[in-house]
Amino acid sequence: MNRSPRRDLVVGLFVLAGLAALSYLSMNVGGLTFRNQGGLVLYASFDEIGGLKPRAPVVIAGVKVGQVVDIALDSDYRARVRMDLRRDLKLPVDTSASIMTAGLLGDQYISLQVGGDDRLLENGGTITITESALSLERLIGKFIYSTDRAGSNEAKPSRTGGER
């Protein structure tokens, strides 16, 4: 219980340093912001979402403009994704949404390609043009199948045309 103004100063500095560290972690690292950057809610339905998860980023030309809020199964058994985007966006109704992968093994995110129509999507609207996630297994399967076919087409003489 020593009364020392210098000690009080040091304690104050310690608390400040701790709080600064906390706010750095919260805002710069953790992405906490005070301005409500969302506001524009849009939906998109996909046949296959792959590894897309809630809070995955939504980007336009590589710039993050929002995030995936929710993924649910709709009545057609397609995945209906709900996105929360910056409210200042003006997106035409023919904007398309594709599910991309960041890097080779990275997380999946949604990339929007802005369309050219005059009419704009409204809050709560749905993006109709969507491109599902590419599944690596299917791609490889297709590739193997097509090389097989190419190989077998060369080996056997074509029976089409002519003799039928």
Binding site: V10, V15, A17, L19, A21, L25, S26, V29, G30
Partner: protein, 258 residues
């Protein structure tokens, strides 16, 4: 054989009784915290003893752990060509687990044992009885400020540990191993979510602060008034405190992630 079972039985009963005692103690401390007059001087003094005096060990350990994470992380990730994610690996490990847990363990060893020894010595030299005879509540004057300071200091120390760790990881990854600085920072920012990770980290640190604060003061307060008693109490603080921190770490991780 029968003696063994008997011993285990006694130990179990003693353990439960001890839990009860520390719970009552916690209630007393909580009541003292909200009873005027506020012991601001004492609280600030304890913030110095517990917080400021732990800064050196926390920051140095944080940087060291960050550096090791940077090294180990790099060596593992480079095999998958994913070394650009080093920032995320270092950051998530520190924020979610290593920051709060290691800070709590280090603080238990340094500040926790010091608190127990201090209070225990006051018991042994009848200083607490002296206060009671002066109609001053020793829990209010001595115990509550120490506990409160531990609770307040732990999240701050944990945050500082993590920041030093991130810096250590940056130093090893970027300066030494050649990871791109921008990738380090951006993978860190993309991977860390405020709600899940940072908030969970602060919550853990807070809970650990409560645990260590209560255990260290309780052990000192209830120790045998001899020097052997003080020594035993100090050891107990470190052991019980450390184990409790690790157990609660699991519990909080499981619950928070749900």
């Amino acid at each position: 054989m029968l003696q063994l079972i008997e011993d285990i039985g006694f130990a179990a009963v003693r353990f439960v009784a001890e839990l009860g005692r520390i719970t009552w103690f916690a209630v007393d401390v909580a009541r003292a915290v909200f009873t005027p007059p506020p012991r601001i001087r004492a609280f600030l003094g304890e913030m110095f003893n517990i917080g400021v005096l732990s800064l050196l060990i926390i920051c140095v350990s944080g940087a060291a752990v960050g550096m090791v994470l940077g090294l180990q992380g790099y060596n593992t990730l480079v095999r998958f060509g994913a070394e650009e994610s080093l920032g995320a690996v270092v950051g998530l490990s520190l924020i979610r687990e290593l920051g709060p847990v290691l800070t709590a363990l280090l603080t238990t060893g340094r500040a926790g044992s010091a608190t127990t020894a201090e209070i225990g010595t006051m018991v042994a030299t009848e200083q607490l009885d002296g206060l009671r005879m002066l109609a001053i509540d020793p829990v209010h004057l001595v115990v509550a400020p120490k506990t409160l300071a531990m609770i307040a200091a732990m999240p701050l120390l944990s945050a500082l540990f993590i920041v030093c760790g991130l810096a250590g990881g940056y130093f090893v990854g970027v300066a030494l191993m050649g990871v791109d600085a921008g990738s380090y920072v951006s993978s860190l920012q993309n991977a860390v979510d405020f709600r899940d990770d940072v908030l969970g980290s602060v919550l853990k640190a807070f809970v650990f602060g409560v645990l260590v604060g209560l255990i260290s003061t309780f052990r000192g307060y209830t120790c045998q008034p001899t020097s052997a008693g003080v020594s035993a109490a100090t050891t107990s603080t470190v052991v019980v405190g450390s184990v409790s921190v690790l157990l609660f770490d699991y519990i909080i991780t499981a619950l928070w992630g749900v």
